[in-house]
């Protein structure tokens, strides 16, 4: 079994502040962590490895510092970490990022068969939830987003059954392998790594892939050149005002409803 997990190092948003003048994140001095959903994806991969044998590869695109995140994945039990890092990748949007990750995964698939691609459902800094689906589309692989559980996984028959959360409830889907899953936190609870794994990880240095080696990326599709997204404005929305409370017992149901309808109408929310 070979699972590839794509992760992102993100600022710990419980500490993040926004520069009120520029509207951009102040990353300076903010501790970096593995995107929490991604950490659960790594955990799932490691559990499947324990059950079926095989290996787990973790890839990430980011600055040299993101190597720390790969070391943390090694602590969790990942076997190989690849940092895709080059100045040419900087300022990539989700389109450019999914291109780079898809090409990287293709290169790894050329080395040997891959059964599963795992992504967190979204990154907590951008919240777009686009990169995983983007990679699935580029690779022409089945996509199961918002996965919450793996009911069965059979690397020999190359099928799996996965539970996915939707607004209407849980969908149970059967898929062929390889498939791409974007996962929720419930997919696998993170266990504390044994000391021996932590020691091994402390001595592990992840590989670094550049924009030209070992994969030659199309420079028109990476970094700022490959990113058509324009951020018009980033801002913190003002907090919602509390709604008006009416004591129905005092006013009576009929007049409460009439008044409420009038207010909604006046606000232009509905046309009656």
């Amino acid at each position: 079994m070979h699972a590839i997990v794509a992760i992102k190092q993100v600022p710990d948003t419980s500490n993040v502040r926004i520069n009120p003048e520029t509207g951009t994140l102040i990353r300076e001095g903010v501790p970096a962590i593995i995107n929490p959903y991604d950490a659960h994806a790594v955990e799932l991969a490691v559990r499947l490895k324990r059950q079926f044998g095989g290996k787990v590869t973790v890839i990430t695109m980011g600055p040299p510092k993101a190597s720390e995140a790969l070391v943390e994945c090694a602590e969790q039990g990942a076997d190989r970490g690849i940092l895709i890092s080059d100045r040419k990748f900087s300022a990539a949007d989700t389109l450019a990022t999914s291109y780079v990750l898809a090409r990287t995964i293709e290169a790894l698939m050329a080395e040997g068969p891959v059964d599963l691609l795992l992504f967190g459902k979204q990154a907590i800094d951008g919240d777009t939830a686009q990169v995983g689906p983007g990679v699935a589309t580029r690779l022409g692989l089945p996509l199961i987003s918002y996965a919450v559980g793996v009911e069965s996984f059979d690397p020999i028959a190359r099928t799996g059954v996965v539970h996915r959360r939707t607004e209407r409830g849980i969908e149970v889907l059967q898929t062929t392998l390889p498939a791409l899953l974007t996962v929720e936190k419930e997919i696998a609870a993170i266990e504390r790594a044994p000391l021996a794994d932590v020691i091994r990880a402390a001595q592990y240095t992840p590989e670094v892939w550049s924009a030209s080696e070992p994969v030659a990326f199309d420079v028109a599709k990476i970094g700022i050149k490959g990113s058509p997204t324009i951020v018009g404005k980033a801002y913190t929305p003002p907090p919602k005002k509390a709604g008006a409370a009416v004591k129905v017992a005092e006013k009576g149901v009929a007049s409460t409803v009439t008044e409420a309808l009038a207010k909604v109408k006046a606000a232009g929310v509905v046309k009656i």
């Binding site: 001095g29 501790p31 266990e191 504390r192 044994p194 000391l195 021996a196 932590v198 020691i199 402390a202």
Partner: protein
């Protein structure tokens, strides 16, 4: 059955003491495991802000080339005596402080300790983070032969363990090296804010000529509501470290909340203008061991040495701690290296560590100020009485009221004895002298 994890030495806690020990041992070729419970070295560590380079140079002679993340060299330092509406300043600025490297620097521990730990790694030590040591492992004869961590299969073995776990010395206590838990009258609680300000603003407000100048001020009196404790204000590169520390018991006894004491201090009319427009970027609190020379734990036993805050190595009067810790860590590391050469990890041999500390400034200073905490404890009025008097006397001295100077001088003397009897003053001064001379 996982294989037994074995090292030549285990260091518990990646602070100044532990990192120093790890560097010394790794440099001598020992296989060292440095265990830190925080996410990274420095993530749990905290101090007011002044770091002395002499002890660092002893551990790492080429530290300057390794570019430590200092904030500013301390080129002006001294004391402010704060009354509710006034301040008397005793500051010292000298060209002698202006050198590269300087004698001391302001620093932020989250950056400094991370850098320092990286030096241990570059010397070959293995740094393990997010891992807490929960107990020691002993053999049938009671000798320490390893530690138990909170991870699955988390036992790790070494013939020597250096405990530099910091002020909350649970392992030291579990190993039976300290008989009782820490009493609140022998522990101080310090709270601090790091307030961001543009470098230019810091320099203008403190009259510094550029990034190569910095100020370190220790503040007495109203900053601590006149209670036994001190406050501080240090300049950083782009900000100010400001904090206040009191004996833990004072917070409890007077029902004070640490952040309220700090907020009150920040709003003092003398202090407030220095902070105006700044943004609080960090808030932290930390315990400071002040149990002193007479109540230190055993520093050595079979297979184990204790260094740093865990052993109470803090000279609060001179705001020194990291240099004591680095020196103790280095000596512990050197002792461990020697123990490996002789293959003797017995308490009998390891006690040489204590003797080396006794002949260094570490225990000499702690011995000299062994009665300082008692002094503060037995004269709780000291800070308010004398600091306020100092300011009131100065006001009288510098104001011309059309009085003959002799009357003014009499007035100033009378003012003192109205506040404290002649014998009271004599007793306070004697106690201060005892506190200072040991």
């Amino acid at each position: 059955m996982p294989e037994k994890l074995t090292f030549d030495a285990i260091v518990v806690g990646a602070g100044p003491a532990g990192i120093s020990a790890a560097i010394v041992m790794a440099r001598s070729g020992l296989k060292v495991m440095l265990i830190e419970r925080g996410r990274f070295a420095g993530s749990k560590n905290f101090f007011g802000g002044v770091l002395y380079t002499h002890a660092l140079a002893d551990v790492l002679p080429d530290y300057w080339e390794r570019k430590p993340p200092f904030e500013r060299p301390v080129t002006e330092q001294g004391y402010w005596f704060l009354s509710p509406d006034s301040v008397m300043r005793v500051m010292h600025k000298s060209q002698h402080y202006q050198k590269d490297p300087a004698e001391s620097y302001t620093a932020l521990r989250s950056g400094f300790d991370a850098w320092f730990a990286q030096q241990a790694v570059s010397h070959g030590a293995l740094l393990i983070t997010k891992t807490t040591v929960v107990d020691g492992i002993r053999d049938a004869k009671g000798r320490v032969i390893g530690v138990r961590t909170d991870r699955p299969d988390g036992d790790v073995y070494a013939p020597i363990v250096i405990v530099s776990e910091g002020v909350n010395n649970l392992l030291t206590q579990k190993l039976g090296l300290m008989k009782a838990d820490l009493p609140p009258r022998l522990i101080a609680l310090s709270v601090k804010e790091y307030i961001g300000l543009p470098a230019k603003e810091v320099e203008t407000r403190f009259n510094l000529s550029g990034a190569k100048e910095g100020m370190a001020i220790d503040i007495f009196g109203d900053a601590t509501l006149g209670l036994p404790g001190t406050a501080f204000l240090y300049t950083d590169k782009q900000g100010i470290s400001i904090g206040v520390g009191l004996l833990l018991e004072e917070f409890v006894h007077h029902k004070l909340k640490p952040y309220e004491v700090l907020a009150r201090f920040k709003n003092h009319p003398v202090i407030k203008p220095y902070l105006a427009g700044g943004e609080t970027l960090e808030y932290g609190a930390h315990l400071i061991p002040e149990f002193g020379y007479d109540r230190m734990p055993d520093l050595a036993a079979d297979g184990v040495l204790v260094a740093g805050d865990a052993a109470g190595m803090v000279d609060a009067l001179h705001r020194e701690g990291t240099n004591l810790a680095m020196t103790a860590g280095r000596l512990a590391g050197e002792t461990a290296v020697e123990a490996h050469k002789r293959n003797d990890f017995s308490a009998g041999f390891l006690k040489g560590y204590r003797q080396q500390l006794e002949s260094s400034f570490v225990l000499k200073d702690l011995k000299q100020y062994r009665r300082m905490t008692d002094f503060l404890d037995s004269t709780p009025h000291f800070m308010s009485t004398y600091v306020n008097y100092l300011n009131d006397a100065a006001l009288r001295y510098f104001s011309a009221h059309g009085l003959p100077k002799r009357d003014m001088e009499d007035n100033i003397i009378k003012m003192l004895f109205q506040r404290r009897s002649f014998f009271g003053v004599a007793r306070d001064m004697l106690k201060l002298l005892q506190g200072m001379r040991g």
